[in-house]
């Protein structure tokens, strides 16, 4: 088909689904979307980005190619695939979805023309070299700003790098929420940039300091409800969300009419929701027009909540950050109760994440304005929040100060030690053999990390420490090259070592102005169990970009010179800089080749295909030889699943898995007995199956026959049960950072 024909066909497909391009969709068409141009669309939630991706996917299909649609969450994958099936399947477009089952090559997708999958699954398929990958003509990456997310971003970056290497001509359509400096990401992706800040409903921001957050929250929510509006309240943890919901439900429920309550009951009892069983605590709240929403709920329950909310039968939803991404779920008022990170109370959430939450304020067609409110505990906190997340401007006409959102630049997280180690293994498995320097120069030079470091004036002296790491290399990874050079030449000041132990190196640095600073590198853990890291009495040992202050650099270079091996041990530990090559060699995943080259071992290639994290691999390799019986297997499985899923699993998980494998008790009952949320249970089963197969493969590789047999028997049992309650590809078990039971 010609380009024009394809274009016309696409528009026809849209119109058949009663869709007409508008806004960014129209602009994307004008910029050559349907001619195969690579584009990046950066616009707020609700602006219609998803349709841009759909159009691109349709273009690929009509061009005789496949389209790969990448989303961050399983729930989103299910939603997108469901929508596309609904719209286009009747017109012969075959849509397939795969999110779990890392242990398979997804051969069943061979017929699918549009493949909707998560980033990780796509990565896994690439590592397994799925045969249909060569036929992909368009890659749509939704929420591409996830590339800056710790833990997941490195894999997405790796996927994009390898896709471009594998398919140089592929069309890339990246969809992003509003971020800072989108042109950088667009340039790296090789995409034209379309930026739109138009919101369907204008948004007003507010920071409210209060000593009693619950009371203030109550007042705001009730005011919204009385004005016939809806609210979404974002809490830091699942427990907070549930607690707030149950606390405020009675008062909110007084504003529900009996007709509305009957309607809720009717909805719950409808055929559509026969198999949807909300937890008892939630069921009681629904009749008050209140619900909580987090990843611990099953997909069906979450879907129910979303539907009830869209219909207006729910007035307030208390949610965690799972609600922030992807799912279209606006409300008049959005309140964020805590800006602390769910995983680390010492850090704040990113600006992009906060604005993504607040961006849900204002329902098109219902509200004339949306309210995004951040609750803080004091004026000091209010100032911090304001400075961190907003720009303040004065309205010339009214004289009022207005808050404008400030977005973070998206930075690569490939330099994270664990991520880099994994990607070095992937690179060697992909390339075959390479020296560390060649890896840096030829492979990782295409990375977003390298791209940014070239342009970023705040890039450290060394961004990719692949080979051996000592104190000096660690300093280079965390400091500017000028600073390191100045410290090496003794220009920065004079450092006197005062403390040198196996875990700490500390000293006093006197700069040339005569100021004195106490500095320290510590690899000890503090009272909260976190590594202390670097400290300086200047008050800012590490800035937001991870760059050390000059005093610490001075101390580090002095320590490297004077203390030798002790500094080479302590400093990298305290700065969390590790050598990927050393780790991989020690684990037996890579080995030396001719000359200076390295290559992946058989075990390394296996681990790469199995899509295991390095830490998971490490634990598995250490403990697998000790497996003697089923109990050992289940115990090891629990440990590995918790590592991979980033979730603390209760002890009852072992009995859950054992019960699932050896009895016919329904999953929901087993989950309830084990006090595992149903939403998590299905995902845990998927993850267990994947990891069991990985364990079996590794055991087989290591000649651990006894362990392999035990593992395989457990795997077979679980596979059988999975077939009984259906494949669970519907979005369970993504984490929202809330791991408390």
């Amino acid at each position: 088909m010609t380009v024009a024909a394809i274009k016309s066909e696409v528009l026809d497909l849209l119109s058949s689904a009663s869709l007409e391009p508008r806004g960014v969709q129209r602009e994307a068409i004008e910029r050559g979307l349907l001619e195969g141009a690579s584009l990046m669309v950066c616009s707020p939630t609700g602006s219609g980005k998803t349709l841009v991706g759909e159009m691109a996917a349709l273009r690929a299909v009509l061009s005789g190619e496949r389209a790969l649609y990448l989303v961050p969450l399983r729930a989103l994958a299910a939603q997108v695939s469901s929508v596309m099936r609904e719209r286009y399947q009747a017109r012969g477009v075959r849509v397939g979805v795969t999110t779990g089952d890392f242990q398979t090559d997804a051969e069943y997708l061979a017929d699918a023309e549009i493949i909707v999958t998560t980033f990780e699954r796509a990565d896994s398929l690439m590592r397994r070299r799925a045969p249909w990958l060569d036929e992909v003509g368009t890659v749509v990456v939704d929420e591409v700003q996830t590339i800056g997310e710790r833990g997941r971003g490195a894999r997405l970056e790796s996927v994009l790098m390898r896709l471009r290497r594998l398919l140089p001509e592929v069309q890339i359509v990246a969809l992003s929420a509003t971020i800072g400096a989108p042109e950088e990401l667009a340039e790296w992706l090789g995409c034209d940039l379309i930026v739109s800040e138009q919101r369907p409903v204008p948004l007003h921001y507010s920071i409210v300091p209060t000593r009693d957050k619950v009371q203030t929250l109550r007042n705001i929510v009730l005011a919204t409800v009385r004005a016939d509006g809806q609210s979404i309240v974002f809490a830091r943890t699942r427990r907070d969300a549930e607690s707030l919901a149950s606390h405020l439900a009675p008062e909110i429920g007084r504003h529900m009419t009996s007709a509305e309550q009957r309607e809720v009951s009717s909805e719950l009892d409808s055929v559509e929701n026969w198999y949807v069983s909300p937890p008892r605590a939630l069921r009681g709240l629904l009749h008050h027009g209140v619900a909580f929403h987090h990843a611990g709920l099953s997909y069906s329950v979450r879907d129910l909540i979303e539907r009830l909310f869209r219909r207006g039968l729910l007035r307030v939803v208390f949610a965690t950050s799972t609600l922030s991404a992807g799912v279209d779920f606006p409300a008049r008022t959005v309140i964020v109760t805590d800006v602390r990170s769910p995983s680390d109370h010492r850090t704040l959430i990113s600006a992009n994440q906060l604005h993504q939450m607040l961006g849900r304020a204002g329902r098109p067609g219902h509200d004339t304005m949306g309210m995004g409110i951040v609750l803080v505990g004091s004026k000091g906190e209010a100032e911090t929040v304001r400075d961190r997340y907003f720009d303040v401007m004065e309205d010339a006409e009214t004289g009022e100060t207005v808050l404008f959102p400030r977005y973070d630049r998206v930075n690569s997280v490939l330099s994270d030690p664990e991520a880099l180690t994994e990607q070095v293994l992937v690179a060697l498995a992909t390339l075959g053999e390479s020296s560390p320097q060649k890896l840096v120069d030829e492979y990782f030079s295409d990375s977003f990390l390298s791209f940014c470091s070239v342009r970023d004036s705040r890039a450290p002296a060394r961004v990719l420490p692949i080979d051996a790491v000592d104190a000096r290399v660690a300093m280079e990874c965390r400091a500017f090259s000028d600073t390191v050079r100045a410290a090496s030449e003794g220009v920065l000041g004079h450092a006197t070592i005062r403390e040198k132990t196996e875990t700490t190196i500390g000293g006093i640095v006197r700069d040339w102005d005569g100021n004195q600073h106490t500095c320290r590198f510590s690899s000890r853990t503090d009272a909260t169990g976190l590594v202390e890291g670097p400290m300086c009495s200047c008050g800012q040992p590490v800035d937001r970009h991870g760059i050390l202050c000059p005093h610490l650099v001075c101390l580090g270079i002095t320590a490297a010179t004077e203390l030798g091996s002790l500094a080479d041990y302590v400093v990298p530990l305290s700065l969390d800089v590790t050598s990927p090559v050393q780790v991989l060699v020690r684990l037996g995943l890579i080995e030396g080749a001719e000359g200076n080259a390295l290559r992946a071992t058989r075990l390394g290639r296996l681990v790469c295909r199995l899509y295991l994290r390095i830490s998971t691999t490490r634990e598995m390799l250490a403990l697998l030889p000790l497996v003697d019986n089923g109990q050992d297997v289940v115990s090891l499985l629990r440990h590995l699943v918790s590592l991979e899923m980033g979730a603390r699993l209760p002890d009852s998980f072992e009995s859950f898995i054992a019960g699932l494998a050896s009895t016919g008790i329904p999953l929901s009952k087993l989950a309830a007995d084990a006090e595992i949320d149903e939403g998590d249970a299905l995902g845990l089963v998927d993850a267990s199956r994947w990891l069991l197969s990985a364990m079996a493969a590794v055991a087989d590789h290591g000649g651990l026959d006894t362990a392999r047999e035990i593992i395989q028997s457990l795997l077979v049992a679980l596979d059988g049960r999975s077939e009984a309650f259906g494949k669970t590809v519907d979005g369970e078990c993504e984490t929202d950072g809330n791991t408390e039971p």
């Binding site: 833990g151 000593r211 990170s341 769910p342 995983s343 680390d344 109370h345 850090t347 704040l348 803080v376 505990g377 004091s378 004026k379 000091g380 906190e381 911090t384 929040v385 664990e418 005062r498 403390e499 040198k500 132990t501 196996e502 875990t503 700490t504 500390g506 006093i508 106490t518 320290r520 510590s522 690899s523 000890r524 853990t525 503090d526 009272a527 909260t528 169990g529 976190l530 590594v531 400290m535 009495s537 041990y569 530990l573 020690r586 684990l587 994290r613 830490s615 490490r618 390799l621 250490a622 403990l623 000790l626 050992d632 440990h639 918790s642 590592l643 980033g646 984490t735 950072g737 791991t739």
Partner: protein, 787 residues
């Protein structure tokens, strides 16, 4: 006989001849009326004139005769008047009378006046810098039955025309040469004065005069007072010019010093305000450390030697009053004596100039905090760790400024726990003191408004204390308190003389440094041969319970000498805790009251040489006594005595000692002295005991797969427990689980954390020491196999 132009010179000077041993003083003459009747000259003239008039009427020739008689009468009248005016020569009615004085007879040392009166004197040819304080003794010693005169003449002088011979060699060399400059210099010092002074004694017997002069000269003690010889005295007496010819120069400053003292001593109520009478002990015990000589209050002469005893040191000695420099000189004498008797001394001061004390010993260590000495507050230094945390918390209170409204650290539970954690950790520093603030908002603490007030009182105080801790290792005192301690307290006290100076910028930091150092020294094992001397213990001011607790600890360690400038600021209980005291000159009334109490200065109802008194007089001696005088009360004596200190030893500054830091750095693997069987124990065996093989396996596991999560290690341990032959049924439960803890405590493994999906996991990895320990074990195994 010599010849001159004018003839031969007489053998004896005529003038001299006049001055014979026996001489008459100029006589005193006066006139006396003999007949007070007035002369009749005028009446006769009137009669003649009347007669002449009658005669002229009767006979004119008779008138001419009458006129002639009148003229003669007028002439006579004139001469009569002139006589009456005063020329007694020739007038009647007046008598000239001569009154003769006594005969003076001079001797070598005195002059004899008529009727048994004797006169002696002494003059001051030059003045020493100190004139004050002795007149009181003089005046006490004098008997009021005899005459005594002190004559002083002062006259201003100009520096221009200053007699160069009046200057000493040093003055001539260093004073400005220009007269104008010299004038200006003197003007600044109260101008230049010429002074003359003489004392005269008058009595009925020669003995009285001699004794009086002896007492006077003894009391004044100035070598420049010299007795006047009899001839010179007599000459002056006759001329009524008793001041000596020679004068001496003095500046206004010096005069004011003398005259002020003079005024206070010679005040109107002199009889009842004589200061400084102390009873001389009838018997002076032998002392171990001689400081000087007792001043005899009777004669103000120096008596027997006295000082401190070992018992005094055991009971504690105060050295109070004076300036820092003066007190240092006194303490230098004490230190000198201590060293002579083989005692070891640790001398602590807050002034870096005190390092000169080190010159008293050949091999002395000079440690300066923040330079070659670091004190690590979280290093218990031999003290029990649990007790030390509490004491350290009390010491930290010393950092609070007196007027800080934020209170103290009592009840700061979280801080105490944080300190205990840091103290129990090996090689910890102040930077390891931390409080879990997970409950606090990170943005609240970043606002810089201090500890959040919404938290509990305990947390509030704890955060306040944490702020103090952070100030110690992040602020200006970081060079003093941050880092591994360079020397242990025992090492500091091991030398003959160790001088430790604490020159910190604020009083609060000095207070804390003193508390900390003394706390650490209190942990040194008891040693009576080691004396701790503190030059200025101002850290105890206003802190009764803390100071008493610390001092008690120090007493349990051994002898203690505390110095203080302001005795009144020391807690009463602390003052009374010490048995002995030496008090130097003081001027503050409250200090003097405290000293009076400390020294037991009491009322003397009857005096040996003075009238009865009704109030404390000895205390005023404290104001006026010299810098080389101390009131000393020894533990064995109830009363204080005045002691003239022996000359202070010469002090010269010494450089800081080169301190090698010992045993404070990372320990490398070392073999223990204990031996099991025929070989030494490896480090792993030392740490893990019977579980050494399991510990070695853990270390090998970590060496390959580090870092491993706790769960993985637990599973490994559990699996190892089942399979290890070492862990038999007899092995107590939990012992296997404790292996990791022991390995961590021994720094063979390091705890860390890793994050997976927003969840933090604790992990362990091998340390350098652990690697070495593993190498050691493997080598042992290889050697064992080889054998």
């Amino acid at each position: 006989m010599t010849k001159t132009v004018m003839g031969a010179s007489p053998e004896v000077e005529p003038v001299e001849r006049m001055l014979r041993r026996s001489e008459e003083a100029p006589s005193r003459e006066y006139i006396q009326w003999e007949n007070r009747n007035r002369p009749t000259g005028l009446r006769g003239v009137q009669a003649l004139i009347g007669l002449a008039l009658v005669a002229s009427v009767l006979s004119p020739p008779l008138v001419l005769i009458a006129l002639g008689v009148s003229a003669a009468t007028v002439a006579l009248l004139r001469s009569g008047r002139s006589r009456a005016r005063g020329t007694w020569r020739g007038l009647n009615g007046w008598r000239r009378i001569r009154h003769r004085t006594s005969r003076l007879r001079y001797h070598s040392t005195h002059v004899t006046l008529r009727r048994g009166r004797y006169l002696g004197g002494a003059s001051l040819s030059d003045a020493a810098p100190h004139l004050s304080g002795r007149l009181s003794g003089l005046l006490r010693a004098l008997s009021s039955r005899h005459g005594f005169a002190l004559l002083v003449e002062l006259s201003p002088e100009s520096a221009i025309g200053l007699d160069p011979s009046a200057l000493t060699e040093w003055q001539a060399e260093h004073l400005p040469g220009s007269e104008r400059q010299l004038e200006s210099l003197f003007w600044r010092h109260g101008c230049l004065w010429s002074a003359r002074a003489v004392i005269l004694a008058h009595g009925r017997t020669e003995q009285y005069v001699s004794t009086t002069l002896d007492i006077a000269l003894g009391a004044l003690g100035d070598a420049n007072w010299a007795r006047l010889d009899g001839r010179s005295l007599m000459r002056r007496y006759c001329r009524l010019d008793l001041l000596p010819e020679s004068s001496f120069y003095a500046t206004g400053e010096e005069l004011s010093g003398w005259l002020v003292q003079l005024a206070s001593e010679l005040s109107s109520d002199l009889g009842s305000n004589v200061p400084g009478e102390f009873l001389t002990p009838a018997k002076v015990e032998k002392c171990d450390y001689v400081l000087g000589r007792i001043i005899d209050p009777e004669t103000l002469r120096l008596g027997p030697e006295t000082g401190l005893t070992d018992k005094d040191l055991q009971g504690g000695v105060w050295i109070a009053g004076g300036t820092d420099v003066v007190r240092r000189e006194v303490l230098a004498r004490v230190v000198c004596r201590l060293l002579e008797r083989g005692q070891r001394v640790v001398y602590i001061a807050t002034d870096s100039a005190a390092g000169a004390i080190a010159s008293l010993a050949r091999e002395a260590a000079v440690l300066q905090l923040g330079h070659n000495l670091i004190l690590n507050p979280v290093d218990p230094d031999g003290l029990p760790a649990n007790r030390y945390a509490v004491l350290l918390l009390r010491a930290l209170e010393g950092l609070l400024e007196r007027d800080r409204p934020r209170g103290d650290l009592e009840g700061a539970v979280e801080l105490e726990m944080a300190l205990a954690r840091a103290i129990s950790r090996k090689d910890a520093t102040l930077a390891d003191v931390s409080i879990d603030t997970a409950a606090l908002s990170p943005t609240d603490s970043s606002s810089g408004a201090g500890p959040p007030r919404q938290s509990s009182p305990s947390m509030y105080r704890s955060m306040l204390g944490l702020t103090l801790v952070e100030e110690l290792y992040k602020g200006s005192a970081a060079s003093a308190f941050y880092g591994s301690q360079t020397l242990s307290a025992e090492e500091m006290a091991s030398g003959d003389l160790t001088v430790i100076t604490l020159p910190l910028p604020t009083r609060e930091l000095q207070r804390f440094a003193l508390d900390l150092l003394l706390l650490k020294l209190s942990g040194v094992p008891r040693d009576d041969a080691l004396v701790v001397v503190v030059e200025n213990a101002h850290n105890f001011a206003g802190r009764e319970s803390w100071s008493l607790a610390l001092v008690d600890r120090l007493f349990r360690r051994g002898p203690l000498i505390l110095g203080t400038e302001a005795l009144s600021k020391m807690p009463d209980v602390l003052r009374g805790r010490f048995c002995s005291a030496g008090v130097l000159q003081m001027s503050d009334s409250s200090d003097i009251r405290a000293a009076a109490d400390l020294l037991g200065l009491g009322v003397i109802a009857t005096g040996l040489h003075s009238k009865s008194r009704s109030s404390l007089r000895e205390t005023s001696f404290l104001r006026t006594m010299g810098q080389d005088t101390v009131l000393l009360r020894s533990g064995s004596r109830r009363l204080a005595v005045a002691v003239r200190l022996s000359p202070a030893p010469e002090l010269e500054s010494r450089p800081l000692s080169d301190v090698q830091s010992t045993a404070r750095q990372t320990e490398s693997v070392r073999r223990d002295d204990r031996v099991r069987g025929d070989r030494s124990l490896t480090l792993i065996e030392e740490v893990a005991g019977r579980q050494a093989s399991l510990a070695a396996r853990i270390l090998r596991l970590l060496e390959r797969y580090e870092p491993l999560t706790v769960r993985a290690l637990e599973q490994f341990l559990a699996a190892s427990e089942d399979s290890s032959p070492a862990s038999s049924a007899s092995a107590p439960d939990g012992e296997v689980d404790s292996v990791i803890t022991r390995l961590e405590r021994a720094s063979l493994v390091l705890r860390g954390h890793e994050v997976h999906g927003n969840v933090s996991y604790t992990n362990y990895r091998l340390t350098m020491k652990g690697r070495l320990a593993l190498r050691q074990t493997e080598q042992e195994e290889r050697e064992g196999l080889a054998e």
